[in-house]
Amino acid sequence: MNFVALKMLFGDRAKYLMLLAGLTFSTMLILQQGSIFWGLMTWTQSGITNVNAPVWVTDPNINQVEEIKPLAETTVNVVRSVPGVEWAVPLYKGVQRARLRDGNYEQIALIGIDSSTLIGRPVTVLEGNIEELRSPEAVAVDQTGVERLGGPEKIKVGTMFAINDHRVRIVALVYAQKSFQNFPFVYTTYKRALEITPPERRKLSYVLAGPVDGVSPEELARRIHEQTGLGAYTEEQFGWKTVMWMLKNTGIGVNFGTTVLLGFIVGMAISGQTFYLFTIENLRQFGALKAIGASTGMLARMILLQSFTVGMIGYGMGVGLATMFGLLASGGALPFKETWPLLGGVGVALLMICSVSSAIISQA
């Protein structure tokens, strides 16, 4: 009877297209909202993911990556003394002011990385040579920096500008994940970062550490915390800590969560209602099938097949449209991150609503 069920579904083109449009719109709505939400959360962690270090050592009371509580310079050696640490390097992170050639100022996120190892450097170099960061006055600027500091015509390898009245020269253009505050990332060496930032008693923002073979980042973080009393987190742990803080303290969680939830409820309601109406309109035909000997189980399977088929097609089209939106938006200012768990979650939710509406209809 699968053949009959599918012909009933596809045969009435107007009803089928209406149903498909409802399901496609629902999927797109939920996925688009969910992806923007998750994209925003990804931006909040970019300060961590751009650095790409196994373990972050921080002040014990830190809440999130942007809330920098400087450490003593000796902390690097303290961390190096913990068994299981293969390497530990300093990292400077802070918001500074860059002065442009036209006299304008722009805030930047300055990242100072260890000059000998360059641990914490960006993975993708778009132009120039990142190794040249070791040369005098050298900095690397990310794609947001190129845009903010004057555009690709003015900002290129060799361009000079000032940070806190210290002259710097661009030696590389790099790609970095945008930050939540949307400041451009400017990379330099740790030593130079200390030179060009205003004097403070402590300037070490974080210590990055890596484990020896056989020790996991989780185990290393635990050891560092236990032996030094400092905060120590794996990249993932620090990322989640930051996300949770943002959700709890910024209102993003409530506001965006409500939007996502509403998108979900509205989307699911549309899907359920549309499919329910579709089947109700076919009730006379199902009644005829029952009269000529189709069992209730057989009719339920037919309805389920119809709902799953149209659900999957609608899901595919919705994912396609949401992805297209994401691709168009990814070049702009909108955060958009379509993840496998999100795709899976929306798929499962859609199948669930199809099953529930099928069950209700079968009962009727």
């Binding site: 009959v4 045969g11 000529i292 000997g293």
Partner: protein
């Protein structure tokens, strides 16, 4: 010859070689309490093998309800309905469904063809329900439709068929499973006189089979001539049985 009737729950005389349907003292009401409406008030009815029986009477006399009780679609409140020796009330819902599938054929007033399916696919549906493979089901469906003069319309959708053609497809669908009892609910109600006449003629041709019986619920006096017996119902009771 007209025969007044009130058999009033006479015991069955089991003769399966002669009687295909035997109903005794069937009652059925709808609603509850003050709004309870008795629709069947103790109906006795026998249908013999090879017989074409017309069930006639005014609207609300209980004809369609009786047909539904015989088919096992509705449960009677009281009484006994036996088809092919099986007491319908004693069957579970799934057994009733299987019984309908294996022994009964249905023809509806509005044909109830599945609009997205072609004539041949519609006729094959009861065979799909029985689990037959597509090729075999289509082969048998085609055979039945060709026998009914529909060879040229096998691939036509119901919307492209005339009323008479649609009813012939509905008859073919009812017959394709070779049922022993054919139940027809107002089969000519949506047809003009000439087409209705032709459709009933077709029904009688296929119904006149020693192992099959046909019950036709109708208002249409123009087809009375086709019945072996005409059972008149009134106010939930069998009022009169007329033999042709």
């Amino acid at each position: 010859m007209d025969k007044p009737l009130n058999q009033g729950g006479k015991p069955f005389e089991e003769d399966l070689s002669h009687w295909l349907v035997r109903a005794r003292g069937v009652t059925k009401s709808f609603g509850e309490g003050d709004t309870k409406i008795p629709v069947l008030k103790g109906v006795d009815l026998d249908v013999a093998r090879g017989e074409i029986l017309l069930l006639v009477g005014p609207s609300g006399s209980g004809k369609t309800t009786l047909l539904s009780v015989i088919a096992g679609i509705l449960d009677s409140d009281d009484g006994d309905v036996r088809i092919l020796g099986k007491t319908i009330q004693n069957l579970s819902p799934s057994e009733k469904t299987c019984f309908r599938r294996d022994h009964l054929g249905f023809i509806f007033q509005q044909y109830n063809l599945l609009s997205p399916l072609t004539a041949m696919e519609n006729v094959a549906v009861p065979l799909f329900i029985r689990g037959l493979a597509k090729k075999e089901a289509f082969g048998r469906a085609e055979e039945v439709l060709v026998n009914m003069g529909m060879a040229e319309r096998l691939k036509a959708l119901p919307t492209k068929l005339s009323g008479g053609e649609q009813q012939r497809v509905a008859i073919a669908r009812a017959l394709v499973g070779d049922p022993q009892l054919l139940l027809c609910d107002e089969p000519t109600a949506s047809l003009d006189g000439e087409t209705g006449h032709r459709v009933v003629q077709t029904l009688c041709d296929v119904g006149k089979h020693p192992d099959r019986a046909v019950i036709i619920v109708t208002h249409d006096s123009r087809i009375f001539e086709f019945g072996d017996r005409i059972v008149h119902m009134n106010d939930g009771r069998v009022d009169q049985i007329q033999h042709s």
